[in-house]
Structures are given as C-alpha cells and as structure tokens.
Symmetry: C3
Subunit: 137 residues, 3 copies
Amino acid sequence: MLQVIRVATEKRVQLQNITAQVRDIVRRSGVNSGLCYVYCPHTTAAITVNENADPDVCSDITRFIGKLVPADFGFDHAEGNSDAHVLSSLFGVGKTFIIEQGDLLLGQWQGIYFSEFDGPRNRTVYVSIIKEEDVQS
Amino acid sequence: MLQVIRVATEKRVQLQNITAQVRDIVRRSGVNSGLCYVYCPHTTAAITVNENADPDVCSDITRFIGKLVPADFGFDHAEGNSDAHVLSSLFGVGKTFIIEQGDLLLGQWQGIYFSEFDGPRNRTVYVSIIKEEDVQS
Amino acid sequence: MLQVIRVATEKRVQLQNITAQVRDIVRRSGVNSGLCYVYCPHTTAAITVNENADPDVCSDITRFIGKLVPADFGFDHAEGNSDAHVLSSLFGVGKTFIIEQGDLLLGQWQGIYFSEFDGPRNRTVYVSIIKEEDVQS
C-alpha cells in the first residue's frame, strides 16, 4: 500500500503542511490499527512534526535553522546546498505515525510538515501503511 | 495494542528516563518479535535515546541544547517557547525499537528518554507494538 | 528476522556508507513489501540518510557538526565524549525504510550511513524486516 504525495515548494526553506494528505491516505486504507510511515526520498529535505496552530512557530523554525546551519559556513560541495544536506540529517527523512480507530493519531497541536531546505522544487513523499496484526486472539 | 505512559516533568528542560515503562509494555504484550514505536503527541517535547549510566551525559545534553537553541534568539511566537518547538523537531517526536525474544532490544548503555523542552508539565507518551509476521514458514 | 551488520570505523567522526549491506539483507529476506528498520545500539553514533554521489557532502557534514557541537564546550562527563552523545540524539539512533517490489526504496541520491561520532570503534547495526500484511484481499 505505497502511496505518493506530490509537494511543490515555493521558497528555499519552507515547512509545508501535508497533514490532510497523510490523513486522507490513512482513512482510505481501511486499516483500523497500525503504523503509517511518511518518507522523503530527497537529501535536501525532511519530514517533521510541529505546531499547526500559530503560523509563527513554523516561521520561527525556518528563520532559526538558517542561523543554526549557515549557508556561508565554507562548505566544499559545488552545488552550494550543503546547509540543506545538514538540515536533512538533523530533521530526518522519515517519521512514523500511529493509526488508531482507522485514523491518524496526532497530538492536539501537531501537524505533519514536508521540510524543504533547498527549494523551490517539485518533491515527492512516500506513505506506507502497516496493518497491526491481531496479537491477542 | 496502543498503550499510554504518563510523565510528569519537573523542570523546563529535562530528559526523563522511561525505559522501564516501555520495557514493561513490551514484556506484557506477549509479542516475541516485532517493533515497538514510542510516540510523543506534543510539539515542545520529543523522544530520544542516550546513555543511562553516567547522569552527567543527560545534564551535559540539556545544558548544551540551551546554548544550541537560545530562548532569547528573537522568536516571534507569542507563547515564548519557540526554542522548545525547534528542539522537538531536532530530537524527533518518535523513536522505533526492535522487539526480540519477547523483550526490548537496546544497546548496553542505552536508555529511552522523554525529552521535555517546555516543562514542567503533565505529558503523555503513546506506545504501539507491531508483531512481526512469520515470513519464513 | 533480526540481522546484524558489523562496522569498523576509522576516524573519530565519519559517515560510513552501509547501503549495500542493508539492501542485501532486504533482498535476501524474500519480503516483497514492508518496512526495514535500521538501528544503532550505541549512544555515541547514529544512523542517517544523505547524498551518496559527491563525497564532499559527507565531508561537509562531518566538518560542520564539529562546529555545531564543539567538543570543548565545557561538558562534565568524564569520558570526554559528550559532543558525540549530543550528536547521537540529534541524528537519531534509527531510521526506517520502505520495502517495495522486494527491494529497498531509496531516493535517487540517497545512501544509508552509519554515523560515527566517537571512533574509531568496532560497531554493530541491527536490521529488522517487517512484512506488510495484505490488507486488501
């Protein structure tokens, strides 16, 4: 049950909310209980979870990480995007979610974000659903 | 098999050892082989794995991350806890563990820590167990 | 289906490519569709995913993280490797991969790296394969 989400980012660094797309895949899967794995097949992007209420949180994060990993550090990689590669390793290319009662189990304030560090680009996200076997019967 | 662990943190930034609680859930599940997924449904906290021998390691980590992500960076978010949101994305809201021979498979020095970045608070941790299907019979 | 990869690192900080070993385990498993979980049972190392084309990317990452988490910060831990413990929590001790059509599903430029932060050492990596149950029949 591999599913694909397409993301078109608009800035170099951007947290794009993909919660609705992931939730839709979970609901359509018909799986009542299990895991949902969201994977980014790129090396200058990542998947993260953070607040989906106040948009200042995402803008604070994107602004801060530009200071945390400065693009002008003196990297050697000729493409000039090593800061994005570092951030991909720090944020992580995949996140796992719990499926419970046929739906994505998230905390009240949580959203799932495709984390773009070297956009704008057309990006792909893979979503894989693992059904939990009944272990109690 | 969704299980819940309750954590009451006592400081703003704190690594609280939840290894015993996770191990207990794994043992009680009766699952011999599979995965155990530990998930934090909060946006200012995380789950991490680190040394459970010398307590200086945890205090070194909590002290260092206060310098890595300074609370006084100049964040916009009105709640004043954007440093905690950044750290949640850097540490990650979930960690997966291997179940082998009915027990949690950890390295000799590893412990599982609920990572509080904006406490003290009452927190929740979800634990989901996935049984490995026998793929060789 | 727990499998073990042995890694002998040669430097204090090093990203060692283990993609071929992980891929071999996936192919030999006979699992057509599922998840592959790669776990590092050490507290001064991690698993990461990054570019496997230009070696400058890995050297940029290892050089930068030495500045991000300076060994001379003033840590208390007597073993003198708290920087490595911090990096282990930032990179994360495990990564999950998708198995599709009997093979590891990676992005075009992605490789899997054992991330050594306190070598040289002989290290162990665990790989666990979870077969996806057929949820549509």
